[in-house]
Amino acid sequence: MKSFSLSSRLVGYLLVGQLIVYVIIWILNIPLSLTGIRVDLDMIRNDLAENSVRAQVAASLRRTADGVPYIEPTEALREKAAQNPHLKYAVFDLTQTMAFQGSSPELVGQLRKMGEIKAFLMNFTFEGAPDSDLRGALTKVDTSAGRVIIVTYGYQFHWDDLIYFFRDNAWDNFIYFVPVAAAAAAIAWVAATRGLSPLRDAAAHASRIDMNSIDQRIPLEGIPAETMPLVEAVNAALARLDAGAARQRRFAANAAHELRTPVAILRTRIDALSDVPYKTNLKRDVRRIQTIVDQLLIAARLNEHGGTMDGIVDLVTTIRTVVADYAPLVVENKKHIEFESPVPSVRVRGNRQALECIAANLIDNALRAEPEGKSVLVRVGPGGTVDVVDHGAGIPKDSRDRIFEPFWRGSETSPGTGLGLAIVKELLDLHKGRVSVVETPGGGATFRVTLTPA
């Protein structure tokens, strides 16, 4: 799904909205003025032609070879003059002492009557004009002949003037619009970005929640009221998942627990058998069932909150105890097991039961692979490693990554649930430890577990 940025959307809406409102107000001003409601603007229909006529006059300014400016009416100005029978125009320099060549002598004469007044911006009418709607305008303009004063009179409204009026006016309005809109956009951006920052914190918090920390919730401090329902809903969903996970764990723990009694009965029953040829096999089978039940129970218990992974455990005594536990089974299967540690104690961070479970799994696997008469070697390294070395068929290179996936089995006929190594991997993940498999020199598999030294 393509996601959108709330900040840019906010800024975009704001800019478009402002522009629309601005244009509406601007357009609305024209009928308000023309109908006389906005009397301060004192605008009549003919005023809409003022801008276009002045522009034509400005475009008609020329200079002679010695630099004296004069008016040389363009084609468009002549057309305007034909359209407006009363049209007169004059151009002065800024001192207003001299009218340029080509100015209307009549208009210049009338302006002279103002005597001492020097206008720099005005609208005016003449006494006794043939039409009371005829108006004049005096404005300073920058042209090709420099900054001049252009006076026009007698312009009349034609529909083609309207486009020019709007274009000219739009530019004036734009000058105000741009800084206001830019400031509003910047403020909106900052407000949105700052307003959303608690959400980013909440997201960062949520992304750290996994099955091992499902009891955590997103803190509600600083969350904006608008997004509170979302955060609360996420927290409620987490609470339901947490409860569900707890139910699952309890179920797994209870199921494993219930299995222990029948396994205990089975084991005692087999122990009580007189020596029959299949007794050894039965004992091995029941031992395997027990290992699986133990694994399920340990996995369920470790997933419970408070299953501590950072106790300090001595690898030498822990692993040696597991090796000792396996000794009877090894001897009955006419195999051997050896324990090796170069130092008397190797302390690591972890959970003793989980580490015993890891070792039991690896030893169980190694025993199955080990040929009769040969010896499984279990070695604790001073850096917090445990190697379990067998001399069986080994594990093909292309399977070495897959063996830690649940329910992977060497082949359909090989015994075991395929859960053992997956549980080893999971328990080691909880320990932030690693497990890898390499070939034993001379053939077989060597599993290496690496833990964090305490």
Binding site: A272, A324, P328, F339
Partner: protein, 225 residues
């Protein structure tokens, strides 16, 4: 030498009772706390094996009860609950030992013997492995009913191994039990002693084997065919 088994699971109870009688112990069975209280009042037991989950309550309450009324009875909890807090709760209530299900028959017997020895209850049945039988109180050894003489250290060693028959005994434990606090012990002294003992047992057709478990210790089992 009477033992009381408090266990509600009929199959489990039957198997443990069988195992106890085969090993020469005289045992009674109670399936409920009520029945157990009744039996305890009527007999003098040396040891009680008590399950935690019982139909009429938690075995822990029975343990507390026995501890108050019959302080001489040693108690061993048998249960499928094996988390550390469960163990602590049982031991705090007054149990002497703890064994989690599923347990090994040999281990159960070894724990029973160890607890009886500590209680000084006397008259324990002999422990047998293969053709060899070890009389716990007199520390005499017989092979097929014939008494066999051992040197002091060989006897200490075979006692250590027989008590934990079918399970590996750690090297340190053997050294401690055979040589006590003796220092300046040569590193291969124990192995030499094991060789001598092994030869001695073979010469007498004891029908047992001492397996070396390298890096761990030794294990005594009956010889395999």
């Amino acid at each position: 030498m009477q033992i009381l088994l408090v266990e509600d699971e009929p199959e489990m109870a039957r198997l443990i009772m069988e195992c106890l009688s085969q090993s020469g112990f005289d045992a009674d069975h109670a399936a409920t706390i009520g029945k157990a209280r009744e039996l305890i009042g009527a007999h003098s037991y040396s040891l009680a094996l008590i399950d935690r989950r019982l139909p009429d309550g938690d075995g822990v309450s029975l343990i507390e009860n026995i501890r108050r009324t019959h302080s001489g009875v040693r108690m061993l909890m048998l249960t499928a609950l094996d988390s550390v807090s469960d163990k602590i709760m049982g031991l705090d209530a007054g149990a002497d030992d703890y064994l989690a299900k599923p347990f090994d028959r040999d281990e159960l017997l070894a724990r029973i013997r160890a607890n009886l020895r500590r209680s000084g209850a006397g008259a324990q049945p002999p422990v047998t492995v293969g053709a060899l039988s070890f009389h716990v109180e007199s520390r005499e050894i017989f092979v097929s009913g014939r008494p066999i003489m051992f040197h002091r250290r060989e006897l200490a060693l075979i006692e250590s191994l027989v008590r934990r028959q079918g399970r590996a005994t750690l090297r340190e434990t053997l050294v401690e039990e055979v040589y006590g606090g003796e220092c300046e012990l040569q590193s291969n002294a124990l192995d030499a002693l094991v060789s001598r003992l092994r030869r001695h047992l073979n010469d007498n057709d004891a029908g047992v084997a001492i397996h070396p478990i390298r890096g761990v210790g030794y294990m005594l089992t009956k010889s395999m065919p």
